[in-house]
């Protein structure tokens, strides 16, 4: 089973590609985390049972593959058919025998499983014609959804480890470095540091022993791209790390994964074992004489352990607290030895760059941000999911063409990018081409590629408060500005959303934000004020409304908001009556309903269920004024 030469690897490739040549069809059932939650495991099992039944009768076999995340989580469980290119959405296990009989056997398309375009209501058959997929360009995620992540031959058939074979046999380590430099690849973990420059500075550092690390501690709320890569195509990460190790002369690597990603850990472990068995990892890789192996280090799920110095301490078995990086980790990293740490997505790009060339990669993207970027698109958008696009794509294209626009066609308000270290980008900047520089200029950042879309019913003060509440839990507490600053910032925000805001609050927030940016030890603390500062920059009027008028313009802050039913619009459907958790609504079916403010807790349940948009919000303080009058 061990592959001992380049030719042997090439014959393995052709063997792997020929494996399913005689199949009647391949059925790819998405078993990413989102689809699994929707029951795709049962769907995959049902297909496998059907296939077994049919295959035992002879004839061209049916191949069923549980694959990684296809990205279109909103419509799961997803089932794709090859070679036809058909995509079925929201497939239930109970419908599987019908699908096999009608679609696979007789080529009949069951339109109820086809994706329905939300704009023109048309049904789309082909995977590649669906707008969500049509506009994507996948490099890091090139094989996700196409392969069974627990079967290395599947990955090899799709081109995995071809870049490694090329690097080991046709290139010397410096040529690999040059190729990565030509590609212009920048770190996908958030800060966008030039990958080749990082590698070179590690290579220059003196020392016999050096490490190659992978950061899989993705922890931003709403981000799941690294998770999907590790779950759906662990080989792309492993291949990238081996190539990196070859370029740097390293023989030991670690993948740091948070323990909340159990499927990623299992799939990585299977992939590592299979790669070792095939001689792609371990001693004398592919017979080249190069040795490198990877261990998995499971993190306890602290957000701060995604920070490089904290991550390295955590791997070393110490408390994950950042340290000053006046001496870079490329010179003094894990165990105080030279170390290169890159993000999952960065490593996943390396194999493709070596295989297809740095110039090919650099031909995509913008002047300073080359290639493609994965994003997790979530929030109030119709098509939530995981996407990968060329750098420089505009926010408008991402949200409206790929994302399909805002849920219930409400007005767009802002998009939060970069997680808790990022910021909110308003409607006026929708045509912003997304790259590292442009997002930073807009007061946000690339971060780990999370994009949370918000509609007009989102209170920007509350959004900033949400991120502060997240960060106060996740700050390691080592340095004063971050630990104490977040606590004080949150106290001020609690006042704002509860109607206790006072003049001077904005100035106190700004002073604190500046102190935290300048004084904090690590990037978590330095960037913690970004959600605050970006919402202040673009939505200052909302802050002022909270402070001066005790009003929440979005009608979301419970303490400041009351609800009422508009007489002209109420159809008497009784839905709000049923939805109200505190019986604050009265009214007979087919008659006007009324909200009683003394009992109402402003939860908004009635607002969400009303089919006639007959419920509106208004500032709570005006309610008391009218009562007094």
């Amino acid at each position: 089973m061990r592959i001992e030469s380049k030719t042997a690897f090439e014959s393995l490739q052709s063997e792997a590609r020929a494996r399913h040549a005689d199949a009647q069809a391949e059925i790819h059932v998405c078993c990413g985390t989102g689809c699994l939650a929707n029951g795709s495991k049962g769907v995959a099992e049902a297909f496998a049972a059907e296939a077994e039944k049919r295959n035992s009768n002879g004839g061209p076999p049916l191949v069923v593959k549980p694959t990684g995340c296809h990205g279109f989580c909103e419509r799961g469980p997803l089932v794709a058919f090859k070679p036809s290119g058909l995509l079925y959405t929201k497939v239930k296990a109970t419908a599987v025998s019908e699908v096999v009989e009608k679609t696979v056997e007789n080529g009949e398309i069951l339109s109820r499983f086809l994706y329905k375009d939300p704009t023109d209501k048309s049904r789309i058959e082909q995977y590649s014609d669906i707008p969500f997929y049509k506009h994507q360009n996948r490099v890091a995620m090139r094989n996700i959804g196409l392969i069974d992540p627990t079967d290395i031959l599947d990955a090899v058939a799709e081109g995995a480890y071809a870049g490694l074979a090329k690097a080991l046999f046709d290139m010397d380590p410096d040529q690999v470095l040059d190729e990565v430099e030509t590609s212009g690849l920048r770190g996908r973990g958030g800060a966008g540091f030039n990958t080749a420059r990082k590698w070179r500075s590690c290579k220059k550092a003196p020392g016999e022993r050096r490490f190659v690390l992978c950061n899989g501690d993705e922890g931003d709320p709403g981000a799941f791209k690294d998770r999907s890569i590790m779950e759906g195509d662990p080989h792309s990460v492993i291949e990238g790390m081996i190539i990196g190790a070859y370029a740097l002369g390293s023989h030991e690597g670690f993948i740091y994964v948070r323990d909340e990603y159990p499927l990623a850990i299992v799939n990585l472990m299977i992939a590592l074992e299979q790669a070792r068995a095939f001689g792609l990892l371990g001693t004398n890789i592919l017979g080249s004489g190069f040795d490198f192996d990877i261990k998995i280090s499971r993190g306890g799920g602290a957000f701060v352990c995604g920070e490089s110095s904290a991550l390295m301490l955590s791997i070393a078995g110490k408390v994950g607290e950042p340290r000053a990086k006046y001496v870079h980790s490329t010179a003094k990293g894990l165990f105080d030895l030279p170390t290169v740490l890159n993000n999952v997505e960065t490593w996943a790009n390396i194999g493709a760059i070596i295989d297809r060339g740095g110039e090919w990669y650099a031909s995509m993207g913008t002047e300073k941000s080359k290639g493609t970027k994965a994003f997790s698109l979530v929030g109030k958008v119709k098509n939530t999911g995981l996407i990968e696009l060329e750098m420089g794509t505009t926010l408008r294209h991402i949200i409206f063409d790929i994302g399909g626009g805002i849920l219930a066609d409400r007005p767009f308000k802002a998009v939060q990018t970069g997680g808790p270290s990022g910021g909110c980008v308003p409607e006026s900047l929708l045509d912003l081409p997304v790259d590292f520089e442009k997002l930073t200029e807009a007061g946000s950042m690339m971060g780990s590629g999370g994009m949370i879309v918000m509609d007009d019913r989102t209170c920007m003060v509350d959004v900033a408060r949400y991120f502060l509440a997240f960060l106060i839990e996740e700050s390691c507490g080592k340095c004063t500005p971050c630990r104490e600053g977040l606590r004080q910032m949150l106290t001020i925000y609690d006042g704002l959303v509860e109607g206790r805001g006072k003049s001077g609050d904005i100035e106190r927030i700004e002073r604190l934000a500046k102190g935290m940016q300048l004084g904090s030890l690590c990037e978590l603390g330095k960037s913690a004020p970004n959600p605050v500062l970006s919402t202040l920059r673009y939505f200052r009027d909302e802050y002022e409304a909270h402070i001066n008028d005790n009003a929440c313009p979005a009608g979301m802050c419970r303490e400041l908001t009351a609800y009422r039913i508009l007489e002209d619009l109420c159809g008497g459907c009784h839905a709000c009556f049923k939805a109200c958790p505190v019986d604050a609504i009265t009214g007979e079916p087919k008659a006007l309903h009324t909200i009683h403010h003394d009992a109402c807790i402003s939860c908004g349940a009635c607002f969400d269920v009303c089919p006639d948009q007959a419920i509106e919000t208004f500032p709570k303080n005006t309610l008391f004024e009218t009562e007094v009058v």
Binding site: A324, V327, E473, E474, T480, P481, L512, G515, G519
Partner: protein
């Protein structure tokens, strides 16, 4: 020897020095809270921030760094009183004053930066711990590691494991001694000592009845450094007396 300027004063320091070392050599005061000369620099309190300019940087480009752990390098220019240094230290002290409103050390430092009253919400149950981690670091340094910081973020505190009497504590009081705000409570007498909820028996000098150290401490050092156990049986006072007697007898011989 790297030569650098601190607020315009030229100073040369040995290789391996920090900016804080250089400032001290130049007789420029930089306030610190989490720094101790006997321990590795930590960079947690952020009070010792200074503005740094290095050769090769644009003339108007400065970086705010902590002086306690930043290496001093040749040609550096350090500014310890720039407006943003003063402002950042002010925010740090303002925040610490909200955390520890009753700690005289913090009150005095804050007053030096013009802060008499904190502009932020005082802690509901204030204590004087500023989380400088000197106590846990000195305990680690002695290879005891009986206490540690536990939890993250706003919930962080110094505590023994599981908030129970720490099994590894030897009652040496190093943590309480090193605490800049003196907020680690302990009781000690000639017969017993208690700290972190743990009781210790004292070794007493047979001659004077005076407490020497805790029995656990004597055992720890005897076991680790090969110091004879009997060394701790007598107090320093008794040892001095013995020595004096010896000198006296020597003089008489002469």
């Amino acid at each position: 020897m790297p030569t650098l300027s601190i607020d315009g004063k030229k100073v040369a320091v040995p290789e391996g020095s920090t900016i804080l070392d250089a400032a001290r050599a130049a007789d420029v005061n930089i306030p610190t809270l989490c720094h101790h000369d006997g321990l590795e620099p930590w960079g947690g309190c952020r009070l010792c921030v200074v503005d740094l300019w290095q050769p090769g940087w644009d003339d108007d480009w400065f970086k705010l760094v902590t002086s306690c752990n930043h290496p001093a390098e040749d040609g550096m220019r350090i500014f310890t009183k720039s407006p943003r240094v003063v402002e950042t230290r002010g925010v740090v002290l303002d925040l610490l004053l909200a955390r520890c409103p009753d700690a005289p050390l913090i009150q005095n430092l804050a007053a030096e930066y013009g802060i008499e009253e904190t502009s932020y919400a005082k802690r509901e149950e204030p204590d004087d711990c500023i989380l400088c981690a000197l106590c846990t670091r000195v305990c680690d340094h002695l290879d005891i590691a009986a206490i540690a910081t536990v939890n993250r973020g706003a919930g962080k505190e110094v505590a023994p494991p599981f908030h129970e009497a720490p099994p590894d504590c030897i009652g040496c009081l190093a943590c309480a001694e090193v605490c800049p705000t003196g907020c680690i409570p302990y009781e000690t007498s000639n017969s017993r000592r208690s700290i972190w909820g743990k009781e210790f028996e004292m070794l007493r000098d047979p001659a004077t009845g005076q407490a020497v150290i805790t029995k656990a401490q004597a055992e720890f050092f005897a076991g680790r450094n090969g110091v004879p156990g009997a060394y701790f049986d007598t107090s320093d006072t008794s040892k001095r007396r013995e020595m004096a007697k010896k000198f006296v007898s020597l003089q008489i011989l002469e």
